[in-house]
Structures are given as C-alpha cells and as structure tokens.
C-alpha cells in the first residue's frame, strides 16, 4: 500500500512540540513564549548519549586516505570530448499513440455507424410533426412505425431471442421499434420520448439538468426502464404526463446506452474541488507576477532610493496579501471538502479515500506555496524607516564626496599633475572604487592575500555607499573566495587579524 498522505503533517508546525499553529504569526508568538527560555533538553540528552557511544567505536577505525586517481580511464572507450554525452539523455521511448488511435478508430467506426443509424430512426419515430400519429395504440401509429423500420416476419420466430422462452398466449410477441426484431414483453426495454430527445440533441433538451450532475456516470443511471420494475410506474406516468415511450430490444438499448454514457461523460459537471483549485492557480499566477516587482520596490526603498514611493509598496503588499489569503482560505475550504465527501455514496469508501486524499494534497501544495512566498516577503517599511534610509544615504554620499575631495587634494599635493585626468573622469555612470592609501600602506607588510582582502572590503564599503548593489554582491563573492583561500593558508596569525578586521567592517 502506498504511504497514506494523510499522516504527513505539514503547515506551520512548531519544531519542538509539534503543535499546528495554523499561521506564521501564531507560530512566532508560540515559539517565543514557550520554547525560547527552555533549551531543548530532550535533544541534548540524546546527543550526549550518542557522543559517549560513538567515542568508543571511533578508536577502532583508521581513516583510509582517499586516493584520487584515474587508473580505470584507460580501460574504457569513453570519449570525454563527445559533447552529446556530457549530459545524460533521457532513455529510449517507444510510442504506440498512432497505432492505438488507428485501432480505436477501426473498432469504434462500426459502432458509431450503428449508432447513427439508430439515432436517425429514433428521430423520425419521436417526431413532433402534426402528420405523425401520436397514440401508441392506434393502427396509424403502427403503420407509421413500420414505414420507418421494417418489422420482421414474426411467424417463423417461436422463441424469444433474448430469453429463449417459447412464445405463447401469455407470452406474446412484440417488435422492437428500432430494428424490427421480435422480443417478449419481459425482455423489452422502454425508452421515454424525453430521453430519446436528449439523446438526439443533448444541448436543447430539458433533461439536461436532470442528468448533467454526472457524478455517477455508471450503475444507476440507466437510460431505459424495464417492464418488471417500472411498468406500473410508466403507465401511471403515461396517464399523468401522457408521455410516450418506445419499446426497444436489448441490443438497441445497449447501443443507445453507450451513446448516453458518452454524452454524460462529456457533460460531467466540474466537481467543486476543481473550481476551487482554479482559484488557487489564478492567485498563484498573480503572485508570480507581483512578487518580483514587490521585492525590487522594497529593496529600493530600504536603500534610500527615491525611484519608488512607499505607497507603491503598500499597494502591491495589499495585492500580495489578498493573494495569500485567497490561496489560504480556498485551500482550507478544499480541506473541509475532504471530510464531507459530498455526493459520494456512503459505502464507496475507496472513492471517499481518494477524494479526501486529493483535497488534503491540494491543501499541502497550497501551504508549501505560501511558505515559499510568504517567507521571502518583507513588510513594507514605515515612513520613518524610509526617511532614515534616505537621510543615511544622503549623508553617506556627502561623506564620500568629502572623502573624495580630501583624497583629491591629497593626491594633488603628493603626485604630479599627470593624475588629474583620472580624477576628473568621475561621473555618475562610471563609478569606480578607490583605495584608501593609508590602508594600503598598512597592508603592504601583510601577506598579498590579506592585502587583497583589505582592498575588496574597502571596495564593498564604497560600493554600498554608492548604492551599487549588484557590484556589492559580486564583490562579496570575491571576498568569500579570498576568505576561503586565506583559511587554507597555514599562517594562523594572518587569518586571525583578518577576522577581526572583517568583523569591524560588518
């Protein structure tokens, strides 16, 4: 058996006590109140136990050094330069689609010819035209029917072809109105005119409403009635509604039933779940649209940029939250459907199981979706925050200008006038990091790697001031690599001086 999906707990569950907190805020509060003070003693206990045990075995094994060599390359004829083999392709596939469709067509063409033939006859038989005799019992009606379908000569038939019982006075011969064969009364099926009309034109018929709920396509939803169960019923109906019916044989009934099932299948109404799910999908699409824009706006606001206003952020935030709410509430609603299992037979436990699994999985999907998005959504900064960011930025820009001016002055005083074109090049688009000379002098005595680190951190600082966030990112990557390289170096002192410096920079 497949693992039951219902057992998996998802959502905003506290990692320590496994209570479902249903929303992010609740979880935050809960965690703060309940778990923040107590350190998880259970985990610790397990660890200390494990540590003791593991220690005892460690001594028994020596670690074998991993030899990395390619001794086996020579034995294989694998062409490493063959680009087609760089990525493993999907394996072979064989398709039977065409063959299958051909076979299906052959098989079903015969049946559909048969169906069309019967439907054409049916249409004439139930025609509402004035010159068509209505009363089923009259001779004119019988004559009309025989004009459409030739009745076979019943004198040679002594047994009912369907139940194989002999005809007699009490078991009279009847004719199927659709193919003219002989049957007994008990084997006859009765097709109401209203249902017949539905078969011919499912869209305009009033029966549409009756059958279209399509939830149970098979089984009880039979097209025709048999004598034994519905005879009295039909007669009553005849009297009350004066509704007409046709006597048909089993084989014609089968063909028509098939047609009827197909119509029902095509017109099956969407289950609630699917309607709701569509809403989720819509909201998800909207989210995917809005979210990146929102992130850039917030980013820009917090960096003190004046490109966007707070109100832009708020507007989008409202849209986002309404999407979240929509997804959340819709999926919760679907979840509720899981328990109700409306319009499923009570004893059909497997359908119930399937239906509730479907609902629960949709909810799980939605929760996951929310977690993915909601976590990366920041709140809109307040007026003050934005103002502060802007002020800060202004200050930094001024500071930098000040520094630059000072540096320029220093340079001018120190170095000959040949340098002037580089300094005058400074314009808005061509930002370029400069290096504090003092730092460089200090760094001179240090390892070249450490020097490099100093330079990069300095660049990052400057880039931050200039609001060049893309550059900051790439510089940070560089810094990380450098750190890595430094760590791998044996000189401990260098690394430690660097560390303290890095912390200051933060």
């Amino acid at each position: 058996m497949l693992p039951s999906v219902g057992d998996v707990r998802e959502g905003f569950i506290c990692p320590q006590c496994h209570h479902d907190m249903s929303t992010m805020e609740m979880l935050q509060l809960h965690f703060q109140d309940v778990h923040m003070k107590q350190s998880s003693s259970a985990v610790k206990g397990l660890f200390s136990l494990a540590k003791q045990k593991i220690k005892s075995v460690q001594d028994n094994f020596t670690t074998v050094p991993n030899e990395q060599s390619n001794v086996y390359t020579q034995f294989f004829s694998f062409d490493q330069n063959d680009s087609s083999l760089k990525q493993q392709q999907i394996g072979y596939i064989r398709s039977y689609n065409d063959k299958f469709k051909k076979l299906r067509k052959i098989e079903h063409d015969q049946i559909s010819i048969e169906t069309t033939r019967l439907l054409l006859r049916l249409e004439k038989l139930i025609s509402n035209d004035e010159d068509v005799p209505k009363n089923a019992k009259t001779k004119e009606r019988r004559k009309y029917e025989q004009e459409i379908v030739e009745w076979i000569d019943d004198s040679k038939v002594s047994l009912c072809p369907s139940c194989a019982k002999p005809f007699s006075l009490s078991r009279r011969k009847h004719h199927c109105r659709l193919d003219g064969f002989v049957i007994c009364d008990q084997c006859s099926q009765f097709l109401l005119f209203s249902k017949a009309r539905y078969l011919i034109d499912p869209n305009s018929s009033t029966l549409n409403k009756m059958t279209a709920n399509g939830s149970s396509l098979q089984g009880s939803n039979s097209l025709t009635a048999t004598v034994t169960t519905d005879d009295s019923n039909l007669n009553n109906k005849d009297k009350v509604n004066s509704e007409n019916y046709l006597r048909i044989c089993l084989s014609c009934q089968k063909v028509l039933q098939r047609r009827y099932d197909q119509i029902c299948f095509k017109n099956a109404q969407r289950d609630e779940v699917f309607l709701y799910y569509e809403k989720i999908a819509e909201a998800q699409k909207e989210l995917a649209n809005i979210h990146p824009t929102y992130s850039t706006i917030i980013e820009s606001l917090l960096s003190g940029d004046t490109k966007y206003q707070i109100i832009d952020g708020q507007r989008l935030y409202r849209q986002l939250t309404s999407c979240y709410e929509k997804i959340d509430s819709t999926s919760k609603h679907i979840m509720k459907l899981a328990d109700s299992c409306s319009n499923i037979d009570e004893d059909d436990t497997q359908s119930q199981f399937r239906y509730s699994a479907l609902c629960r999985n949709i909810r799980m999907y939605a929760v996951h979706l929310l977690q993915n998005y909601a976590i990366s959504t920041r709140r809109v900064p307040s007026e003050d925050d934005v103002q502060r960011a802007r002020d800060e930025r202004k200050r930094l820009v001024e500071e930098r200008n000040e520094l630059e001016r000072a540096a320029k002055a220093e340079l001018v005083s120190k170095i000959s006038s040949t340098d002037s074109p580089t300094t005058s090049k400074k314009d808005v688009s061509g930002w370029r990091p400069t290096i504090d000379r003092n730092l460089l002098v200090q760094a001179q005595e240090l390892n070249p790697l450490v020097q490099q680190v100093y330079q990069v951190t300095e660049y990052i600082r400057q880039a931050q001031i200039a609001g060049r966030y893309d550059e900051v990112e790439s510089l940070k990557l560089n810094l990380k690599e450098l750190e890595q390289a430094l760590k791998n170096m044996p000189q401990q002192e260098n690394a430690s001086t660097f560390d303290s410096y890095a912390i200051e920079c933060e």
């Binding site: 990692p15 075995v57 392709q89 039977y96 396509l217 197909q262 499923i344």
Partner: protein, 584 residues
Amino acid sequence: MTNINLIEAVRSYINRMIEDCGPTIKGLVMDKETASIVSMVYAQSEILQKEVFLFERIDMGGQKSLKHLSAICFLRPTEENIQALVRELHEPKYGNYFIYFTNFVEMSDIKSLAEADEFECVRVVQEYYADYLAINPHLYSLNIPNTYQQNYEWNDNLLRRTVQGLVSVLLSLRKKSATIRYQKSSNMARILADKLSSTLKRQVDFTASNPNDINQTIVLIIDRREDAITPLLNQWTYQAMVHELIGIKNNRVNLNQVPSITKELEEVVMNAEYDEFYANNLYSNFGEIATNIKGLMEHFQEKHKSQSKIESIGDMKTFIENYPQFKKLSGTVSKHVTIISELSRLVGLYHLLEVSETEQHLVCQGDHNDVVQKIKRLIKNDKIRDLDILRLLSLYALRYERHASNELNTLKYETQKHRRLPEKYIHFLQAILEYGGLKFRQADLFNTQTPMAITRQFIRGLRGVDNVYAQHVPLIKDLIDQLLRGKLKDPSYPNVNSKDQINQQNLSQQQGQIIKPSEIIIYVIGGVTYEESYHIQLMNKQNARILLGGSYIHNCQSFIDEVLIAVPSSLSGASNELLSSKRR
C-alpha cells in the same frame, strides 16, 4: 566527465511523463512495483509540487468520477495491469489517460485497450523503460528476493521479469545492443544470457544500430553461487551496516526495534538524493561516520542556539527565513544520531568487532588451527549472537570444505553444547555447501589454489592492512579487473553473441588488442550486497564506468532465507535426520 546515472535515467522518464501531461491536476496511478520504482527516485512532496495530487494503485476501486483529473498510469505490462486498465477504460474515473508501460507491450494488449476506450479518453500509450529500482547512481535491483527455485532452475515468470529488467536498464541508458558474457558454470546464467540476447535482437526498432556506435557495452551475468562468502560477512560502511544490522527496504528503515524510540522515528526514509549527510557518508566506514555525525551535531547545536535566541524583530525574521532549513536539519540530525547510536549499541552488545575480525581473518589469512581456536572461543561467549556463529561456521565450511583436518563437525558439536541454534540455521550449514561449495564453485574464492593467487594474497598481506575489518575484497572486483585487462577466460565466461562477432573478437585478441567497453553492466543472479556496491563505487570514482545490479540487495538474513529456499528437497530431509541425531 559525466558518469552514467541510473537514478537520473528513471527520474528523467518520470519528469517527462509529468511534463507531457500538462499543467492540470494530475493523479499518478501505479502498481505495486512501479510505486517502489517511483519512490526510489522521487519524494512524494517533490512530485506534489508538480501538481500531482493523487497517488494510487491501479487496483483501487471506487465509483466517483473525477473527470477533470488527468491520470498518469505508470504500469508494468503485466496481464493483471492490462485487465485492470481495460476495466477502468470501460468506466473511466478520470478525464484523460496517459498510459506508460515500463516495458515491451504486446500488440494484442494495445488492441484490447483500444477496444475498451469507448470514451476516447486515452491520450498517450508509450513504453518508458524504467523497469528497475535505481538505488544509487550505479546500483540497481529488480527486487526479487528469491530467484532460485528448487534445484537452481529458473521459474518462467522470474526469468521473464529478469530479462525485462535488464533490457530496460540498457534502453533507459540508450544502449541498443551489448556484448553479453556469462558465467558458463551456471545454467541459469547461460539461459538468461541467451534470452536477453534474443530479446534484444527481436526489437527491430532499436537494433538499427548507428554505424558510429563503436562503443560497446558489456553485460556480464554472474551467479551469486560463485561467491557465497560476501553476503555472510559483517559490514562496516554506513549504508551496508544499516542494511546488515537494521535493514533497508525501498530506502525505508524500520526502527521500531530500537529501544525507547519516539513515534516519529519508527520508520525513517534514507534517500541519498534528499539527504546530504547520508549521500556524503554512504561509503564512510564506521569510524568516519562517528566523526562526521559529531560534526553534524555540533553544527546543529550552534544553529539551535542561534535559533532559540529571539530577541528582536530581526532575529524573528531570520528565524522565519531559516526555519525550513532548520526543520530539515533537525530531522536529519535526529534521524542519523538515532541510527548511528543504534548501530554502535548493536556493535557493542554483540561484540561485532571481535566477530568481524575473526571473519576477516578466516577469509583472508587463515591459519587453520588459529581459526578453529578463535571460533571455539566465540561459541562459548554468550554475548555473541547465534547468527554470527552461523556466519563463522558457514565461512569455515566453505573455506575448509576439503581440508585434510576439517573440524566442522567438532565445531558443530561444540556449538550444540553451548547454545541451541534454530533448526533453520542447521539446515543452512548443509545448504550453503550445496549452494556455493566446491562442487559448483570455479573461482578461487580464497586465493589458495594457484601459485599466482597465493602470491597475490601474500603481497596483499605484506602491504599491511589498513583496516582489519575490511580486508576482504569481493570476487566481483577481481572479475571486473580481469575483464578489463582482457584476462577473463572465454571458456569460463563465454560471449553469447553471434559467431561473426566472436570471430572478430578472436581476431582482435590475436592481434593483442582488447576491445575497450564503453561501460560494463553487471547482473548477479541471486542478489548483490552493499559491500560490492561500495567496491564498484570506488572503481567508478577512479573513472571506471560500471553499473552493478542483481535480483535483490541482500543482507545476511535475506541471503540465508534465499539459500534455504533453493535447497534441493532431498537435502533438507538429510539435514533433518542430522538434526535429530544430534539432539539424541
């Protein structure tokens, strides 16, 4: 260099199925075997993200129609599945059907499906050859616990299943043809090789070979009976240990035997695709894992500390941002800590280090008297499990089968004096000699027969032993080395392919050339072990291209069960007598 990857091969098939179905709500309909195939390579939560909201078995009934759901039917082409599909199509629950068979399907079956599809809701009928369990990138299994029938013959169903499995391994890796070599001493290997070869030839669609395709795939079919000792040894690499001491079944590990286990850890999933720590430590030995789990624990405790310190809004934000990773990490940590502590508990409790040392000594060096003394000592130690005594006795029986002063009976007597071995185990001591004794075996399993082998063993001894618990090198590695160096003898491991190819090969061999294979695919009738997988993985790390597979992934317990089932009936009667005489 990309290595061939079986997990990737199966995953890409499943991805394709889901993509082809389009962005609607989907249900995945499987049978018992395909459900395992999928679960080996995909986590349910990951498939869920692709809008697959229903996972069910083809045999599940129910009336309610879900017309707006598309069904992806991923099924083996068995008779029952075809019948179930036909029934389903007569009364369709779903709106659309995308049908994928894991293997060749008969035209007549396609026809009956076409006839049944009166609602015209089948969209796709295709063959996707993912007909095996991909356990690791280089390891596959067909999940057949008992291949051998009585007297070591094939059962038709199992033979068909095995051929299908091997064909699908080849096709899923885009290999249309292969050089098939088999162990001649095994009747079953010969029959399988012939059947595989003829099946491949019959598939005309795939045999139109590319003229540039000089790359040859070698399929090597061997019989577990040639090496009965590997499954009997205690293991010390992580994956192998977990399987040996606790048991891995479709990546699931059942921990409910662990003392004071919490409810949520009773069954855990161990999938290297989703668990970084596990992936990094599959092949670490016990000492290394102990070190690594310590590192993981420290990392976690640090995280845990910073996680619990929430003082400002900023802290809260980082908490929320890191929360999912934290949750995942916490799950990983508690899982591995539990498993590793359980492993070390068992190792300590049953003195497995001592047992393993004796085993390795017995198999790899083996001064006869020394070995007998050691086994006798262990028999008397009541901390040692019966199972471990059985391992030692079986290994002894295999190794000294025709030794002049064989003391197996003395050892058995000694055992019966001190402990009561289950009846099953006493049968096994007989059965194992029938299964893998000298009567069947050809390979020099203990390196004692030829001067060459003795020298090799001697040199191995001189080089010093890195790890006393892992001296044994499985036969399979030697076979592959011989194959690669062109030294695997044709008379013992013949080639099943047509005559002209053999001539060609002879020709090139005469010219002193060895045809280099593009990769080697091994199939072991009767199952493989994680120890063998470990050795293949080591070779692949050094640029070899080898895939290993078998009917099952055995640990000692399951191996014992399979050997016992295969015992010829006459023998089991004999051992019964033996047993009763002993009791008297």
